[in-house]
Amino acid sequence: MDAGGSRLQIILAILRKDTTLLFRDFLFVFLTILVLVVFVALYWVLPSRVDETITVGVHGAGIEQALERMSRSNKGALDVKRFASSRDLLTAVGDRKVEAGIDFPNNFLADTFAGKESTVTVLLRPTLPPEVREAMTTMVRELAYAIGGHPLPVKMPAETTVVLGADRSGQQVPLRDKLRPLYAFIVLIMEAIGMGGLIASEVQNRTLSAILATPARIFDVLSAKIIVGTGVAFSEAIIILLLVRGFGPSPLIVLVALLLGAVMVTGVAMIAGSAGRDLVGTMFNGMLMLIPMAIPAFAVLFPGAAAPWVRVLPSYGLVDVMINTSSNGAGWSESAIPLLTLSGWCIAIVMIGTLVLRRRARLS
């Protein structure tokens, strides 16, 4: 019998074995396919555009021309629907057929021409955001001035309006696109749990001891685990982003971010797998670390900037790069700092994972 193998042959043997075992784990394969199918279906089911039009119901006599002018000047943003009576308008607002309603009194036109004050009722749904409520009030004032023939007291010339960054007016990022980082991150989490389970069973069943009683070193085992974990997570994330068109105009930047994300979750898998007593324990440990890491992916779903503490989470760089490149057209210069921060976290997490697994191997 001819014997004698190189480090590379040993790493390749462990790599091949780990890949075989990972894809023979029925639960892992089932969840991976399920996540892929559900996310892709969800992406294609969700609307591809954000409807920015506000539908306003109006009741009032003699204001048709003024309303027509207003509709024309706000085309795409305002859809005015006329109602025959105050009761019809009230019912339409209650039934959510319109976002808001403006009920002009019957003598509104005459009183306005005569310079008398009159009361206009604005009907709002309780869930209406404050900015729309404010818009309704402004609209009433504008209508009053338009009907009365007086100009608005405040002039807002177009040349003073400055948009910082890409002007996305009328092209808001739809929810399905905002969900892309979350899809990618959940796929990475799935892979981390699968890998963590594999590591936990290796430690618990003491197969790691059997490997270490051969010429294989702990370095070989760790190298193979990192390569398999990162490779599988990276591949899955690429597949999901291809299916949901998540690479945007800078695919290379997204690929680098995904690769770093895959390395990071592999580090988490090493920590969770070393600490877990079984698959359930591994899942618990993994979730304990990965759920906080998913927060940045959830944060982008809501308007406004992320809280400062969200920005220090290890996964923030990944989500930041993905959303800014695919939706806002960010390039290498804008992505450099989040990518560097993400790299730093990757190194730290993989180092901790390596130390924990090495220690566990020695104790087993």
Binding site: T20, R24, S209, A210, A213
Partner: protein, 286 residues
């Protein structure tokens, strides 16, 4: 070539304050089977872990196949085979895949698991996943795995644990064949019959110390009593008498027994290794 496959000198190891191995010394020659006997927690597993380099050396020296443990661990490991007490196999892989994986780790080229699986009687189920194997089948696969690299040194920890008598005998035959091939075998077992049958030399370990080392025959001569047990039947009742062979009247007693028409049987009374262990340590092996 040095005949010693294992040389252990003043080996000591402790987990914190608890001393697991306390200044032990022994040697095992190539082609010989060395029985390492002791109760649970006596220090057997720690000694094996030290021997295969899975625990760091704290004190003492270990030389395997002429190489020092500590500095040449990886070279040594390519020439050893280990059968662990735990059935640490990959359950989701087939028997053949398990053996092929370990053969690759040892860098064994042109490896075919069939012959090895045939040796342990598993060749017909080589393509079945190990999770479907019985405890005994897994144990036989463990033995086969320890042999993938044709080791010069075999560490076998309870290799017949959970096996039926026929399978146990098959594994014992393999152990003897490996020794005949020239491999040194370090065997730990609770089965005193097995240790007695297989071992060229045995060591008793208790509370981390080796209390006796010799061939089973020498130990029996040294610590056992030379005697015969005579059974006679008189009026339906059976009487037993033990006659010490070293006593002055032994010859006359044996002659008288042989002439007695009521004689049923005469058996030599040989001490077992377990009797000797109890005699030396005051405790059993279980």
């Amino acid at each position: 070539m040095d005949e010693s496959a294992i040389k252990v000198r003043n080996l000591r190891f402790s987990y914190g304050d608890a001393v697991a191995v306390d200044d032990i010394n022994f040697e095992v020659d190539r082609g010989k089977i060395f029985g390492f006997l002791g109760p649970n927690g006596a220090g057997k597993s720690t000694t094996i872990k030290l021997l295969i380099g899975m625990l760091p050396l704290q004190q003492g020296e270990i030389e395997l196949l002429g190489m020092s443990i500590g500095s040449q661990n990886h070279k040594i490991r390519s020439r050893i085979g280990v059968c662990f007490e735990e059935k640490n196999l990959y359950l989701q892989m087939t028997a053949g895949e398990n053996l092929e994986f370990f053969a690759r780790l040892f860098g064994v080229r042109r490896f075919s698991p069939t012959a090895l699986l045939r040796r342990v009687g598993l060749d017909e189920r080589s393509n079945e996943r190990v999770k479907n194997y019985s405890k005994g089948m897994r144990q036989r696969l463990m033995v086969a795995r320890a042999l993938v690299n044709e080791p010069d040194l075999l560490f076998l920890d309870e290799p017949t644990d959970g096996l039926d008598p026929v399978s146990s005998q098959a594994v014992r035959t393999i152990i003897e064949e490996e020794a005949e091939r020239g491999a040194a075998v370090l065997l730990t077992t609770h089965d005193m019959f097995e240790a007695d049958q297989l071992s060229d030399r045995v060591a008793f370990i208790n509370e981390g110390k080796i209390v006796a080392t010799d061939s089973p025959e020498e130990l029996k001569l040294k610590y056992g009593r030379r005697s015969v047990r005579i059974k006679t039947r008189r009026d339906g009742t059976i009487d037993e008498e033990v006659v010490g062979l070293d006593s002055n009247e032994a010859g006359d007693r044996l002659k008288a027994a042989a002439a007695n028409p009521a004689l049923m049987t005469i058996h030599t009374e040989e001490a077992t290794l377990e009797d000797i262990f109890i005699q030396l340590t005051g405790r059993g092996l279980a």
